[in-house]
């Protein structure tokens, strides 16, 4: 699929140099096109849009309260459909606004079956307010509220969403914009609730230099720490660069030790994370092969 030249974010937002959310949003909006409304709860993306009364966003954006994105998006979509309009409604939210604060609104909207797409860009912390731990922060990562490393595991958001049986569900990563673009196009071609979870390596939050955003995303995928897949009406398929990673992976230490947030991680913790990756890839492989 040829990616359109049109940009829907005018030069430029106030996002940090090397921001993964800006890159993800470029491709989400390219895939969606001009007949689209974004619903954005409190997160980096709500503050980077520009300074009132101007905005870098060249499509309509509705900035809403933290917990409400999916409720607003599903209601807005119902209103558009009632008026006979096909306008895409896309909720674009951070991990904090999704796995923690917006989870009940998301669950309700998915269950009601409204026609909208929810995109969670996951930078694995409450970044806009200074990198506090979220439910999506991985085990052993240091944040401003877990200075010795997080003791708990990353919440399995995708399993929670899958339990709602949305028509389409996918993961993606900022380092693979073509895979991301194709999945957004596919999601928006289907009526009903769609969900995408996009890994967003964040230079200041994860503590790596701004030029390494793409490299960090690639290391996440090549190590199997992040897997690119889609579930089309429940049927799982591994996509893009993750096909190779199902068979052969780089050691997860090569990903972890490149980031300041994992400074001080122990050999035992690395082994624990490696074992968890190998286990979950094994489960995905079984799901791909199964007939159910």
């Amino acid at each position: 699929m040829a990616i359109p030249d049109e940009e829907y974010i005018l030069k430029t937002t106030s996002a940090c140099a090397g921001c993964p959310s800006s890159l993800i949003l470029r491709y989400v909006t390219k895939a969606a096109g001009p007949d689209t409304v974004l619903v954005i709860p409190a997160c980096c993306t709500s503050v980077i849009q520009g300074v009132y009364p101007t905005t870098a966003m060249n499509i309509p954006v509705y900035n809403v309260a933290f917990a409400s994105a999916a409720a607003v998006g599903s209601g807005m979509s119902e209103a558009f459909r009632a008026c006979g309009k096909k306008t895409n409604v896309i909720c674009y939210a951070g991990d904090g606004g999704t796995v923690d604060i917006g989870i009940q609104a998301l669950s309700g909207a998915l269950e009601r079956g409204n026609d909208f797409l929810y995109v969670c860009y996951d930078n694995e912390a409450y970044s806009n307010t200074g990198m506090q731990r979220s439910g999506a922060t991985p085990f052993a990562a240091r944040t401003t509220t877990t200075p010795a490393g997080k003791q708990d595991l990353k919440k399995d958001l995708d399993a929670i969403v899958a339990a709602h049986n949305p028509v389409y569900q996918a993961t993606a990563c900022a380092a693979y914009p073509v895979d991301l673009y194709n999945k957004v196009v596919k999601a928006l071609s289907m009526p009903g609730p769609k969900f995408m979870h996009v890994l967003a390596p964040c230079p200041p939050g994860w503590r790596f230099p701004s030029e390494e955003t793409i490299e960090m995303g690639k290391l996440a995928v090549k190590s199997g720490m992040w897997v690119l897949w889609e579930r089309d009406h429940g049927k799982l398929a591994i996509t893009g660069a993750s096909k190779a990673a199902m068979v052969k992976r780089i050691p997860v230490a090569d990903y972890l030790t490149r980031q300041g947030r994992f400074k001080g991680i122990t050999e035992e913790q690395i082994a624990e994370i490696q074992a968890a990756i190998d286990r979950s890839i094994g489960c995905l492989q079984k799901e791909v092969e199964s007939e159910c």
């Binding site: 106030s14 140099a17 870098a56 490299e215």
Partner: protein, 81 residues
């Protein structure tokens, strides 16, 4: 009753000329470039146009384009003063 809504209108430069943020600027060696377009694909701020020209009024100097260029055709050069 008419409520006044806080609505922002789209405009270039809504967050200012972010080119002033740079400490390093990307300089492209056109001889070495094979026009693959990867720099343009990966630029988070869409500061590289279809002719592969970089808009230095807005380029934030993140360095992603230089890092990802398969031909090593982009060098990050320190800004003066």
């Amino acid at each position: 009753m008419s409520a006044k809504l806080a609505i922002s209108r789209p405009a270039e430069g809504a967050a200012g000329k972010t080119g002033t943020w740079r400490t390093f600027r990307p300089v492209v060696d056109r001889e070495a470039c094979n026009e693959c377009g990867l720099c343009r694909q990966y630029c988070p701020d869409a500061a590289i146009d279809e002719n592969l020209d970089i808009d230095l009024d807005y380029c934030k100097g993140c360095g992603i384009c230089a890092k990802e260029c398969p031909k090593k055709a982009i060098t990050m050069v320190r800004e003066e003063d």
